[in-house]
């Protein structure tokens, strides 16, 4: 930001835009937004050098609610868009945010491969175990028995395990937070942004309209109590025993972040005469 006094400090409010969220009063996503803003402030990130990328869903509306650059892309496609952006512009901080439907259903393949690719991004999935925006269909993290209009009597399919799949797919930073635990979630996001490579933060975020029972999460979530492990097997064991409501940082590995062979040049004309020489007969 230009024209700021040298002792200017970013506060969370500096990351909050004047666009009114479309969210229902009480929606968990407000808490996630607050945590993101706090994390940015804690890291004193210049909003002009941060891009928040998302897909489509209630959760995915977040970019416009910040004062950072943003991209509200297509349903399920936030991760590859963010990867392209970060590879092209390694100087930017890129945070990806979205929902459980966006990230684990239509976006599942990109999630798998983003974990493998290990580009330096922070990915916050605001999981409410439902498709909020389309008015209440089951998502991959919805339990098998949850009754809905589209799947009366439930899907009959066991829920997707985001953290376990992330671990097996090569994610190197795996955590779970809760939108109602502002301090805890903020801390995880700060750590995630600092972590080099791909960081995955599973943020439980109740949909009070279509899953009102999720209000109970504030009583049910509980901290893991232990710090993260860097052992794959230990992380795997912990996740196998996880009840889905344990918060905290689970796993931090040390795989080095993906760096493309060559960084792109922006706004630079290059001499191609070397290259065209190969065509000469």
């Amino acid at each position: 930001m230009d024209g700021l006094t040298p002792d200017f400090k970013f506060e969370p409010k500096h990351y909050k835009s004047d666009v009114n969220p479309i969210w229902c009063p009480g929606c968990g996503h407000y808490g996630v937004q607050a945590a993101i803003n706090r994390a940015f402030a804690e890291l004193q990130l210049d909003p002009a050098k941060v891009v928040v990328v998302s897909g489509i869903g209630c959760s995915s509306r977040i970019p416009a609610y910040t004062t950072c650059y943003g991209f509200h892309g297509l349903h399920g496609r936030a991760l590859p868009l963010a990867i392209g952006l970060k590879l092209a512009r390694p100087d930017l901080t890129v945070l990806v945010a979205g929902g459980d439907g966006d990230g684990f259903s239509i976006g599942g393949n990109h999630f798998l491969h983003a974990c493998r690719r290990n580009v330096d991004l922070t990915y916050v999935v605001m999981d409410n175990e439902v498709y909020g925006m389309t008015k209440g269909q089951p998502s991959p993290t919805t339990g098998p028995d949850w009754d809905s209009e589209l799947q009366p009597g439930g899907t009959g399919i066991s829920a997707f395990r985001p953290l376990g799949v992330a671990l097996q797919s090569g994610a190197n930073f795996i955590a779970r937070g809760f939108s109602g635990d502002l301090n805890g979630l903020t801390k995880l996001i700060v750590q995630g942004i600092k972590h080099p490579g791909f960081s995955f933060i599973h943020a439980l975020s109740p949909c009070i309209t279509f899953r009102p029972e999720e209000r109970e999460w504030k009583n049910l979530t509980h901290s893991a109590g232990t710090g993260p492990t860097s052992e794959f097997n230990e992380a795997s064991r912990r996740l196998a025993e996880d009840d889905g409501l344990t918060t905290g940082l689970v796993y931090v590995g040390d795989r080095r972040p993906y760096a493309p062979p060559v960084a792109p040049l922006v706004d630079t004309r290059t001499d191609l005469s070397q290259i065209v020489a190969e065509f000469r007969i």
Binding site: Y69, H72, L74, P80, N109, R280
Partner: protein, 586 residues
């Protein structure tokens, strides 16, 4: 662009053989030697379904002037063997003037080939190869081919030696093999008038010694992309587009740039959109099935106004179709395949060489107009290898409009400007923060479902394309200004139509040709002007349903009811087919 005036300036040679026989190698060497000797030429290949080692044919056309398409038929077919040749014999038309020269031990000439009435001869390629160290039958046959078409023996020997040197074959041995083949050729020519007639010209072509390139269309497109400023590319492999980015990949090492092989087509295009949003001109390459998967994301690039080049190499369709064969049938999907109203740019190269300019231009249009630009190449153009004159370097002065000193809160990413193009802030620019969005939005970018915002943004996205100055590049126009016969075509079909026009004019017909390079947005006034005075109109394309015809009827006021000349791939449109129609009109 140079062009033919007479079919006698060219000779077409097909070399076929099954797995490992080396037909493709022989064809490539023949083309390269011709280029070195100062001729021009073009080679395509046709292969059977086997992944590796199946039957294949090299289809070579040599010429004294630049050439970008196949001729009416092959003057000579050299068969190293006959195995499975029926799988693509339809792609090697022969006539009574043609000569078929098979290896002695290849067995009986297949019925379909004999039926052409071509002069059928044999030669002892295998036997001769047994007697010369390091020699293989295909190299002997290559020597024969050189003799038949009149290529200097020395040029042939040098070319082959340069290639085989890495394989440890000496210049002397190579010379012996070529010479053995050459002698066969000379003998055959002495004995048969039809064979002697194959000879293109004693002296080398007009451009001897000048600056020539040997390049495929996909390489040419890669070069055009680099020239345009593309520094990010993402793709998911698909035939026949992969080799475009396989050419770019290592070159990014030299000029800077990132190439990402994505997990699927949708990831690839979104990566490119992300990179472009970040300020780096970006491209994705694909073919039909992959293009289908990218359409939703192309719509995002249009709605969010993020520059993007989609390089699509058409193959036989529908569905998985015929991955290795050419067809002009992704025109509809490129023009109309986006849901909602999503105006965008579609351009098509008109020759192998033109893949350079047209791709560079696509980058220019995408960046200037902040929209999606399709390049519609095809398998023929993309994988044909051609000898061309060194092409000019064109600086299109491509710049993306950016705001100067945007003010946070006041900056309107999607401002309604006169041109319709709004200054685009790039992350990192202080005060330019905005959220790019595929939801309908107001000028600031905030989602809006209001009728007036929708209408004004639709107007804006349309007007910026309509009002842009495309210059002369929108089409190639040639022929007689006072012609009453007009031809309209596009893409790789331009070459045979051009050749037909030249022949017709040489015979005194007055004919005008318009080959469209810019397909969207449409330029009805320009086409009307270009076709002024035309009373009969022929529309030529390689499709089954007439996609190009329907497009012309929908968007242009044509000066006469169009007659359609078309057929699907993989058979190319031949100049003679066009000449037949023109002749029937006289």
């Amino acid at each position: 662009m140079t062009q033919f005036t007479s079919a006698a300036d060219t000779v077409s040679v097909a070399i076929t053989g099954s797995g490992g026989a080396g037909a493709i190698t022989a064809g490539s060497l023949l083309l390269e030697a011709a280029g070195r000797a100062g001729w021009y030429g073009l080679m395509t290949r046709t292969v059977g379904p086997q992944i590796r080692g199946g039957e294949a044919a090299a289809l070579v056309r040599l010429a004294r002037r630049g050439v970008s398409g196949l001729g009416d038929r092959f003057d000579v077919l050299i068969a190293l063997d006959w195995r499975n040749v029926e799988r693509f014999v339809a792609e090697i038309p022969l006539g009574p003037q043609s000569v078929v020269l098979a290896c002695e031990d290849a067995g009986d000439i297949p019925e379909k080939i004999a039926a052409s009435g071509a002069l059928s001869l044999t030669a002892p390629f295998t036997k001769l190869a047994e007697d010369i160290r390091g020699a293989r039958p295909n190299i002997i046959a290559l020597g024969t081919a050189a003799a038949l078409v009149g290529l200097p023996e020395q040029a042939m020997v040098e070319t082959v030696a340069a290639t085989l040197a890495d394989k440890g074959v000496s210049l002397e041995d190579t010379g012996q093999a070529i010479r053995a083949g050459y002698d066969i050729g000379l003998q055959l020519a002495a004995g048969h008038g039809a064979v002697a007639a194959l000879r293109l010209a004693e002296e080398a072509g007009t451009g001897a010694g000048s600056d020539r390139w040997l390049i495929t269309g996909n390489q040419a497109a890669g070069l055009g992309a680099l020239r345009g400023g593309i520094r990010f590319a993402a793709m998911y492999p698909i035939t026949p587009a992969t080799d475009m980015l396989e050419w770019i990949a290592p070159r990014f090492g030299a000029v800077g740039g990132v190439l990402c092989q994505a997990e699927d087509e949708i990831a690839a295009i979104n990566m490119a959109i992300g990179a472009s949003y970040g300020g780096v001109p970006a491209l994705t390459a694909t073919s039909g099935p992959g293009l289908a998967l990218k359409l939703e994301s192309i719509g995002l690039s249009v709605a969010a106004e993020v520059p993007l080049v989609i390089f699509n190499v058409m193959r036989g369709g529908p569905s998985t179709g015929i991955p290795t064969k050419s067809e002009q049938t992704d025109l509809n999907v490129a023009l109309y395949g986006l849901h909602g109203e999503a105006p965008h740019v579609v351009v098509a190269p008109l020759s192998v060489e033109d893949c350079i300019f047209t791709t560079q231009w696509a980058v220019h249009l995408a960046e200037s107009l902040q929209t999606a630009a399709f390049v519609l190449s095809d398998q023929f153009l993309g994988q044909a290898k051609a000898v061309i004159d060194r092409p000019a370097e064109t600086d299109l002065g491509t710049v993306r409009l950016k705001p100067t000193d945007p003010q946070a809160g006041a900056y309107k990413r999607y401002a309604l400007t006169n041109s319709g193009v709004s200054p685009m802030a790039i992350p990192g620019m202080p005060g330019g923060q905005y959220t790019a969005d595929g939801l309908e939005h107001n000028e600031r970018g905030t989602p809006s479902s209001q009728a007036d915002d929708h209408h004004s943004q639709l107007d804006k996205r349309n007007n910026k394309l309509e009002g842009f100055e495309y210059g002369d590049a929108w089409a190639e126009i040639e022929g007689d200004a006072d012609a009453e016969i007009g031809l309209v075509t596009w893409g790789s079909t331009t070459a045979p139509v051009r050749e037909a026009v030249a022949r017709a004019r040489a015979q005194g017909f007055k004919v005008r040709l318009v080959a469209l390079r810019l397909l969207a947005p449409t330029r009805p006034a320009l086409l009307a002007e270009a076709l002024k005075g035309v009373k009969r109109l022929l529309v030529v394309e390689q499709s089954h349903s007439g996609q190009f015809l329907g497009y012309l009827k929908a968007h242009y006021d044509l000066p006469a009811p169009p007659q359609s000349l078309r057929h699907p791939g993989p058979l190319a449109i031949r100049p003679a087919e066009v000449c037949d129609v023109l002749r029937s009109w006289s």
